[in-house]
């Protein structure tokens, strides 16, 4: 049975990862940056699940791992947003390039 090769999944994941990375590094809105990071995590999840099926030792491990990842990602999104809101309250902005207190 000819099925979709592993490479195809990996390619998809790679493309999504790159898009997420690009978004995270170039977008100015902090919310979009957060969501781009979610996209990157998703791309990784695809890899995990793909390797769960196609690999030397196939099994459930990859899927379970991706479940944990999703959990952590959800927590991260929540905390990230909370920080964003606190920040917005103090600085009245969510623009990433105005958040340069490290420099000052």
């Amino acid at each position: 049975m000819s099925s979709v090769p592993l490479t195809a999944y990996l390619m998809l994941a790679l493309i999504l990862f790159c898009i997420g990375l690009f978004g995270a590094l170039t977008k100015r809105n902090a919310v979009i940056v957060l969501i781009s990071i979610e996209l990157m995590l998703n791309a990784v999840n695809i890899n995990l699940v793909a390797f769960a099926k196609y690999s030397i030792n196939p099994g459930l491990t990859g899927q379970i791992f991706s479940l944990f990842t999703i959990t952590v990602a959800a927590a991260e999104a929540a905390v990230g947003l909370a920080i964003l809101i606190a920040l917005y309250r103090n600085r009245q902005t969510v623009n990433v390039d105005e958040m340069d207190t490290m420099k000052r």
Binding site: L25, V96, D97, K103
Partner: protein, 622 residues
């Protein structure tokens, strides 16, 4: 007796140490420590000399330290040459100690002076008994130290400071020559021992070029120490030291060390015709050159200093002209009469408190002992028959002539004439005529000062009979026992040579008499006839100035250049590097704009580079 001869140098060393411990003592009886200990050395030296006269000799050595397979040895050796030197050195040293007791009376660093004298005597005696070149070199430097300390004894005088420094540095230049020669010889022979060096010279193990090179290097050392051309300028300046020091170091002993060195290494020189010729030419030129400067000096000690340089030139000339015995002979007689002259000059200075001969005059009547002794010295150095200088100078002339160096022979004769002239110019100006300066309260020196002069006066008269054609050539027979094969035995040239020498001396004395005593000839007769020549001679041929302009200025200029180089190039390079780093970090800090995304981009670049490396090389650890 001979086994104990290594103790000879140690007594003065003991004196040095004891006197340093007593340096705060105000009592002048501390001087007796020095006198006594050098006296013991003198007695032992005479004993050793007598033993060697009987044909004995000794050489003892032990390992000093060992490097790899080679042992560096130390020890002592007594042979005819250095036994003679031992006597000369310890005798003059003893007499100068005694004399200084009176001369240095009232000086607040009285014990220190004697300590330095002790150090010098130790070094000089140690130099003489050295059985190898390395040990000789070490004492050679220590002798320089003693000389330096004594010249700079009046440390608060700027002239003394400059003179001490100059003496040390100028002789150091020579020493480096000796050092190079010694080291080169070591790699040729594999040892510093005289015996082994001479053996390989004899066997022809050393190529002739190397022989000449090493001999010349060693001769450079002698040039420095003995004040030969062109390193003579320190010796007249060294007269800033106390006068007994000039007598001891800069007339009788240390400056003769150069001559001694050439004599001790004579087989090496004999093996190289070129080296001998150089020695002779340098000696001859120094003799006449220094004599010419002596003609016009006004400082009593400087006249004597130039005279010393000139006489040392004679000795070198003798050695260079194969007159080994003549050179040593002159060294011996010169030690006595020049020490006498210096001590007498010191006595004069002690009396009138000036060194300028223009301010003296008519002292003959006031200094009834010093005057005649000075006259004896002057007659001896001028080569007046029957005094010691006559015999030794005659031999030098004879051997020069016999060696076929006719040009140098006539040069030496002219120098003899000049010597006679300036010595008697000095004598007449100081002792006869009217008193030109303030001479109130001038009195004869105490007996502790006159006694050494009398001893030296006697020796200045009789030392010549050590080696005469009339009574026997004791000295050359004696020296023939030594390790050096005496060059062509008989040196007694034509009978007219003594006549010529005597004539030259008589002419010189007569001319001085006519000018300075009788006044028949005007004093500035020569100065007026050859003004520019006189100017040049009066300024010592501008040698000092020449060195100042070339070597000193050059060195200082190089040093300044070095400082600039250090500041601008070396430090500049460093500054350039730091500026570069700073510039880079400025650029870097612009990247640090505080925006997380930029950092992220940078991090991605880093990851990409690492991945590239892994992708291209296949991984370092795989």
């Amino acid at each position: 007796m001979l086994q104990m001869s290594w103790l000879i140098p140690l007594f003065p060393l003991l004196s040095f140490i004891l006197l340093l411990l007593f340096r705060k003592s105000k009592s002048e009886s501390t001087a007796w420590i020095g006198v006594l200990l050098t006296g013991i050395s003198l007695v032992m030296s005479v004993g050793v000399f007598l033993a060697v006269w009987q044909g004995e000799g000794i050489k003892t050595e032990g390992t000093w330290f060992q490097i790899g397979e080679r042992a560096i040895t130390m020890g002592f050796e007594v042979n005819p040459l250095n036994a003679l030197m031992l006597v000369i050195v310890s005798l003059v040293s003893f007499l100068v100690h005694l004399y200084s007791k009176g001369y240095m009376h009232g000086d607040e660093r009285f014990p220190v002076f004697f300590a330095y004298l002790g150090l010098f005597s130790f070094a000089m005696l140690g130099l003489v008994v050295s059985p190898n070149l390395l040990q000789l070199y070490m004492f050679w430097e220590l002798v320089g130290l003693g000389s330096f300390l004594l010249i700079g004894f009046y440390y608060f005088k700027p002239e003394a400071k400059a003179a001490a420094k100059k003496a040390f540095v100028m002789t150091r230049i020579g020493d480096v020559g000796l050092f190079i020669g010694m080291v080169l010889l070591f790699w040729q022979v594999g040892s510093f021992e005289y015996d082994e060096i001479f053996a390989s010279v004899k066997n022809g193990d050393i190529s002739s070029g190397m022989l000449t090179l090493t001999a010349l290097c060693i001769f450079v050392g002698a040039v420095g120490k003995s004040g030969q051309l062109p390193l003579h300028t320190w010796l007249p300046d060294a007269m800033e030291g106390p006068t007994p020091v000039s007598a001891l170091i800069h007339a009788a002993t240390m400056v003769a060390a150069g001559v001694y060195l050439v004599a001790a290494m004579y087989p090496l020189f004999q093996a190289s015709e070129a080296a001998l010729t150089v020695v002779a030419v340098v000696g001859g030129l120094t003799a006449i050159f220094a004599a010419s400067i002596g003609l016009m000096q006004k400082d009593i000690k400087r006249v004597l200093a130039y005279s010393t340089v000139s006489q040392l030139g004679y000795m070198m000339l003798a050695l260079g002209a194969s007159g080994y015995v003549a050179g040593i002979f002159h060294l011996t007689t010169h030690a006595f009469f020049k020490a006498l002259l210096f001590l007498a000059a010191g006595s004069v200075i002690h009396a009138v408190h000036t060194q300028n001969i223009e301010e003296m005059g008519g002292l003959w009547k006031k200094l009834r002992i010093t005057g005649p002794l000075f006259l004896i010295g002057a007659l001896a150095i001028s080569g007046v028959p029957l005094l010691s200088g006559f015999f030794s100078k005659d031999e030098i002339l004879a051997s020069t002539y016999a060696d076929g160096k006719y040009g140098l022979f006539w040069l030496a004769v002219i120098a003899a004439f000049m010597t006679a002239f300036y010595m008697f110019r000095l004598f007449f100006l100081v002792f006869t005529g009217e008193a030109r300066g303030n001479e109130k309260g001038v009195h004869e020196s105490p007996s502790v000062m006159t006694f050494p002069m009398i001893v030296l006066g006697v020796l200045a008269v009789v030392a010549g009979y050590l080696n005469t054609t009339w009574f026997g050539t004791f000295l050359s027979d004696y020296l023939a026992q030594g390790p050096v094969e005496l060059p062509h035995g008989d040196h007694h040239g034509p009978a007219w040579i003594p006549l010529v020498a005597t004539l030259a001396a008589a002419l010189g004395i007569g001319l001085a008499y006519l000018i300075y005593q009788k006044g028949t000839l005007s004093r500035d007769w020569i100065t007026r006839s050859f003004p520019s020549l006189a100017e040049v001679i009066y300024n010592k041929w501008y040698i000092d100035e020449g060195y100042d302009q070339t070597v000193v200025k050059g060195t200082r200029g190089l040093s300044k250049l070095g400082v600039l180089f250090d500041r601008y190039v070396v430090d500049g390079l460093v500054t350039a590097v730091t500026n570069g780093v700073q510039g880079l970090s400025k650029i870097g800090s612009r990247l640090q704009n505080g925006q997380v995304q930029s950092y992220g981009t940078a991090a991605i670049f880093g990851i990409v580079i690492l991945l590239l490396i892994v992708a291209l090389t296949g991984g370092y650890f795989s």
